[in-house]
């Protein structure tokens, strides 16, 4: 069983990938699995210095289990202020 997630992008990630992108993962996948699969499916992401995953408007811990309907976003290094 697998789940397809829509992942939103902003800023440098949007310039690299467009938005949103689709990622398919086994049910029960964690935030770290999403991050790894994103790098596999979109190697251009490796040109970023780093990126985090946001889940439902908060930084996701690597071990958080994703659920269908989650709002998922790629967060490149921030530069506000």
């Amino acid at each position: 069983m697998s789940v397809t997630y829509q992942v939103q992008t902003f800023a440098a990630a949007r310039e690299l990938l467009g938005s949103p992108v689709s990622i398919t993962l086994p049910r029960g996948a964690k935030a770290r699995d999403l991050r790894q699969q994103l790098l596999v499916d979109f190697p251009a992401l490796a040109t970023l210095k780093d990126f985090a995953i946001a889940r439902n408007e908060a930084y996701a811990l690597p071990g958080e289990i994703l659920e269908a309907g989650d709002e998922l976003v790629i967060i490149p290094p921030v530069s506000g202020g």
Binding site: Q8, L48, V73, P76, V78, G81
Partner: protein, 138 residues
């Protein structure tokens, strides 16, 4: 008490100052971050903020709440611009009030430091040598 905003319009210092006023507080510290005319030796003509608004506001509130607790602040205002900015425009204003001035300074510095680390807002600079999303590349 906390007031966080992410605004497409000009930020206003007096609005932030008025919000944090408190008769029990002798010290108000404020920080204003404005757009400089240069960065890394290159002339900057203007810039653009991209923001993940819902999460940005949540992160801003978390930072203001942590600052209030950790530094014993009475009130915190944290306003950030979004959209297109030109040189001299104000990108961020922070105002905090505290009975003690040391706590006010330290709390205010904490808020801007944490904002720059965690709030999902991204700055794209338009410079003579091209456009750059700051911090994005190795």
């Amino acid at each position: 008490m906390i007031d966080v905003r992410l605004s497409g319009d000009d930020l206003d210092l007096s609005t932030c100052y008025d919000f944090v006023q408190d008769p029990a507080c002798g010290g108000i510290a404020l920080f204003v971050g404005a757009i400089r005319n240069h960065n890394q030796g290159e002339e900057v003509t203007h810039l653009e903020f991209s923001s993940y608004d819902g999460m940005a506001l949540k992160e801003m509130r978390k930072i203001a709440e942590a600052a209030s607790e950790d530094y014993g602040l009475a009130k915190v205002a944290l306003h950030h611009r979004k959209g297109e900015l030109k040189i001299g425009d104000v990108a961020v204003i922070i105002a905090v009030s505290s009975p003690h001035r040391k706590a006010a300074f330290e709390g205010c510095a904490y808020v801007i430091d944490e904002l720059k680390k965690h709030v999902p807002i991204w700055k794209k600079e338009f410079r003579a040598d091209g456009t750059h999303w700051l911090n994005a590349r190795p």
